[in-house]
């Protein structure tokens, strides 16, 4: 398991994979927003948590098709499927590798980009917490979408169409948590819901992803 994880991480970092790409996309989205809505500090600081969430979500989406596509092309996915490791574990590790190379850098970059969007003082902690809790769910759900579309020639657009509706609850609770935290309101309900979604998807969705992958590898 560790070997597979480190292999995926190395491939992502060294082979010019999604590592920098998602981060750069996140940066560009957040930089472009003020050009789009105008530079008023008040407006920016109000929408900043939501913008950071949308940016993180899109950046996550951008690199989803890489989760299985390269392994599918060179046949290593078939080898992995016949390995002693259960496919559910492989899927989970793939999701973990995706999160470590895409989600985690986004979480770490979010406070720095928050400065650009004049995020209010008290909001940094909650943006960080909500993204740290929510991005694993994005990776796991995305892995399910990537498993669904793995055999398709041009699956990219279909992948977005399938995954975006699945992202709705995570986005709502994540952005709500960040927004309430920023406004100094009570945060317990969205915090619990977001944590529930994250852990729930992490526990259950790999089974669906593995089932889908088995069908696709048939």
């Amino acid at each position: 398991m560790i070997a597979l994880l480190s292999r995926d991480l190395k491939l992502a970092v060294r082979a010019g994979g999604g590592f920098g790409l998602g981060l750069a996309f996140f940066l560009i989205v957040t930089v472009l927003i003020p050009f789009g809505v105008g530079p008023e500090t008040e407006l920016l600081s109000r929408i900043a948590p939501g913008v950071l969430w949308i940016g993180a979500l899109l950046a996550c989406l951008l690199s989803l098709d890489r989760i299985f596509a390269l392994d599918w092309e060179d046949g290593s996915l078939d080898l992995l499927a016949t390995a002693p490791l259960p496919l559910e574990a492989i899927v989970t590790i793939k999701a973990a590798a995706h999160w470590l190379t895409t989600g985690l850098p986004l979480v770490l970059a979010a406070p720095a980009l928050g400065v650009l969007l004049s995020l209010p003082q008290g909001a940094y902690l909650w943006v960080l917490v909500s993204l740290a809790l929510g991005t694993p769910a994005l990776s796991v759900i995305g892995t399910f979408g990537a498993a669904l579309t793995v055999g398709l020639k041009r699956g990219g657009l279909l992948l977005s169409l399938l995954v975006l509706p699945l992202y709705v609850p995570t986005l709502i609770f994540g952005a709500e948590l960040a927004r309430r935290g920023a406004a100094g309101l009570e945060v317990e309900a969205p915090l619990l819901m977001l944590a529930g979604i994250s852990f729930g998807t992490l526990a259950l969705l790999p089974f669906a992803s593995a089932a889908v992958l088995r069908i696709n590898l048939r």
């Binding site: 669904l148 279909l158 699945l166 709705v168 609850p169 048939r218």
Partner: protein, 243 residues
Amino acid sequence: MASIWEYANPVKFIRTTDRLLPWISVAAVACLAVGLVWGFFFTPEDYRQGSTVKIIYLHVPAALMAINAWLMMLVASLVWIVRRHHVSALAARAAAPVGAVMTLIALATGAIWGQPMWGTWWAWDPRLTSFLILFLFYLGYMALWEAIENDDTAADLTAILCLVGSVFALLSRYAVLFWNQGLHQGASLSMDAEENVADVFWYPLLVCMAGFILLFVALVFLRTQTEIRARRMRALIAREGAY
């Protein structure tokens, strides 16, 4: 007593639905005609909403079927996964576009009603938002069916997508309620028409709902037959080509 699983046999399914289809179609048309004419011309106008209230006879049945079509797809997908009856998978496939159109009708009639009544075509109200999300689910489901060439693979994948999607659709429903609770207008757009619609509106609405249900059943039967025949034709062509 014949088991329901006998209809998993495509020939039997086609023979039975062929016999039922004219009756169901006639009943659907009759119900819709009676319900709509009754609703549109022979009910009083609401004292507050005027004649706009009459869009309810399209809106509520469409919304009802939008949700029930997804439920039917869920059941059909489960049957396909568990018992692997092809008719079931094809029925789920056949129901998806019908359900999507029902969702679209519900959204469109809602917008047309909302324009004079709320002064806006669209509000991010929980009900409206969850229907929009449901529509996206339908789109994704249909797109996945179209994208995959192998029939069995497509049936398997879409069935799993339907299961996972159902969970997430429910989750979205509650998330959306949580997200925009403050703006939710209760009774003015309540679908629980039993509670706040007077009998004069309720009876024609009931007939319309029956009409929409029959219409949905008829369309799904017809489309499933078409799918079965299309698949049989492809098999025949493939066999011809082999010789």
